[in-house]
C-alpha cells in the first residue's frame, strides 16, 4: 500500500511539473539557422513583461498544436532578465501551460546575436523568424502576428 502511495505521488509530481526551459547561448541558434533537415523552425522572441508578446502566444500555441506532425517546430525564446528565469518565466510558462518548446537566451549583450537572426532587426520584441535553410525558406518580422498571418506564412512554406 505504501509503495503504491509513493508511486502515485511520483506520477502526480511528474504530471504537475512544467516543461524544462533549456538555457541557450548564441551558438545554439546555429542548430536552427543552419539545420540540414526538412523542419520549418518558427523562432519567436518574447518576454513575460511584453504585452504584445504575451497576446500573440496563443497563436503560436495553436500552430504548434496543428502542425507539429508536419515538421513545424515552434520555439518560444524568452529574453527576460536572467534573474527572473526561475521565478517569473517558469511561473508564467506553468500558469499558461505552454506546450510549445520554451527556451531562455542567456546572453548579456544582444548586440552579439541580434544580427544573426536578421540584420534588419532593431531589437524590438515581439519578433519572429520562420526558417528552413535546406528548403530556402525565410521570413522575419519585428511585430506581433495574428494566427491567420502566421498560418498563411507557414502554409506557403509547407510542401
Amino acid at each position: 500500500m505504501r509503495h503504491f502511495f509513493l508511486f502515485f505521488l511520483l506520477i502526480l509530481t511528474l504530471s504537475l511539473s512544467a516543461q524544462e526551459i533549456p538555457i541557450i547561448q548564441k551558438e545554439d541558434f546555429k542548430q536552427w539557422l543552419e539545420a540540414d533537415n526538412d523542419t520549418l523552425y518558427v523562432l519567436n522572441f518574447w518576454a513575460t513583461w511584453c504585452g504584445p508578446c504575451v497576446a500573440e502566444l496563443p497563436a503560436f500555441e495553436k500552430i504548434h498544436e496543428r502542425y507539429a506532425d508536419q515538421k513545424v517546430k515552434v520555439i518560444l525564446i524568452s529574453t527576460d532578465f536572467r534573474r527572473n528565469l526561475d521565478t517569473q518565466v517558469k511561473r508564467f510558462v506553468r500558469r499558461k501551460k505552454l506546450q510549445s518548446q520554451v527556451m531562455f537566451i542567456n546572453e548579456p549583450n544582444p548586440n552579439d546575436w541580434i544580427n544573426w537572426i536578421d540584420p534588419d532587426w532593431t531589437g524590438a520584441i515581439p519578433a519572429t523568424l520562420i526558417i528552413s535553410k535546406r528548403n530556402g525558406h525565410r521570413f522575419f518580422i519585428e511585430k506581433a502576428m495574428t494566427f491567420n498571418q502566421l498560418e498563411e506564412k507557414i502554409r506557403t512554406f509547407l510542401p
Partner: protein
C-alpha cells in the same frame, strides 16, 4: 529686376537645401543631420536642442515609464546626464508611447516619475510621435548621440548589459561622447539591443 531676384533666391534656396541630409524612410542613419524638435517637458516648459546652452552635442534617448528595460537603465541615464551635461552633452529623454495603449506612460505619470526620481535631465512628451518617427526609433530605450551640429554619430544601446550595470564592459554611449569630446572618431557607431517596442498610435 524682381523676377531676377526671385530666381536667384530660388536657386540659392535649392543650393542650400541640397546640403541637408534628409532622413531615410527608416529614420536617421549615422551621418544624417537631425532636425531640431520642440517638445513639452515634465517641468512645464518646452525644450528644443537649440534651447540647450553651451551644447557640445546632444544625447537623445527614447525611453518611457513602464518598460522593464527603461527601468533597468533609469539610474544609468541619470548618471550619464550628471557626468556629461557639465561637459556640454545633455541628455534629452523623450517618451514616444501612446498613453491610450500604455496608460503608465501618460504625461501625468511622466511628471510624477520625474519628480519622484528627481530626474536631472529634460523628460519630454512626443505626443504626435513625429520625433520618434523622424529619428527612426523602434524601442525603448533607444539612444542617439549627436554632435554640436546635430549630426547623428551613435545609435543604439546605452551599454552592453541591460540587466546588470555592474557587469558592463562596453559603455557604448559614454564611449561615443568621450570620442566626440576628444575630437576623435566614435569607435562603435551602431549597436542593437532588446527593448520594448514603441507603442505606436493605431490609425
Amino acid at each position: 529686376m524682381h523676377k531676377l531676384s526671385i530666381l536667384l533666391f530660388l536657386v540659392a534656396g535649392a543650393f542650400a537645401l541640397s546640403f541637408q541630409s534628409a532622413p531615410d524612410a527608416g529614420g536617421y542613419q549615422i551621418g544624417d543631420t537631425a532636425e531640431d524638435f520642440n517638445l513639452p517637458s515634465v517641468k512645464g516648459k518646452n525644450v528644443s536642442m537649440a534651447s540647450i546652452k553651451n551644447a557640445k552635442g546632444y544625447v537623445v534617448i527614447f525611453t518611457c515609464n513602464h518598460c522593464p528595460y527603461a527601468k533597468a537603465y533609469e539610474q544609468r541615464i541619470i548618471e550619464l546626464h550628471k557626468k556629461y551635461a557639465p561637459l556640454g552633452f545633455s541628455v534629452l529623454a523623450i517618451s514616444p508611447n501612446d498613453p491610450k495603449i500604455q496608460p503608465d506612460d501618460s504625461f501625468d505619470k511622466m511628471k510624477k516619475l520625474a519628480k519622484m526620481k528627481k530626474y536631472p535631465f529634460a523628460y519630454l512628451f512626443d505626443e504626435t510621435q513625429d520625433v520618434a518617427k523622424a529619428f527612426g526609433a523602434t524601442r525603448t530605450p533607444h539612444v542617439y548621440v549627436l554632435d554640436q551640429n546635430r549630426v547623428v554619430r551613435y545609435i543604439g544601446a546605452l551599454d552592453d548589459n541591460s540587466e546588470d550595470a555592474a557587469k558592463v564592459k562596453e559603455p557604448y554611449a559614454s564611449q561615443a561622447i568621450e570620442a566626440l569630446l576628444a575630437g576623435k572618431e566614435v569607435p562603435v557607431k551602431e549597436t542593437k539591443a532588446i527593448g520594448c517596442s514603441i507603442k505606436w498610435k493605431k490609425s
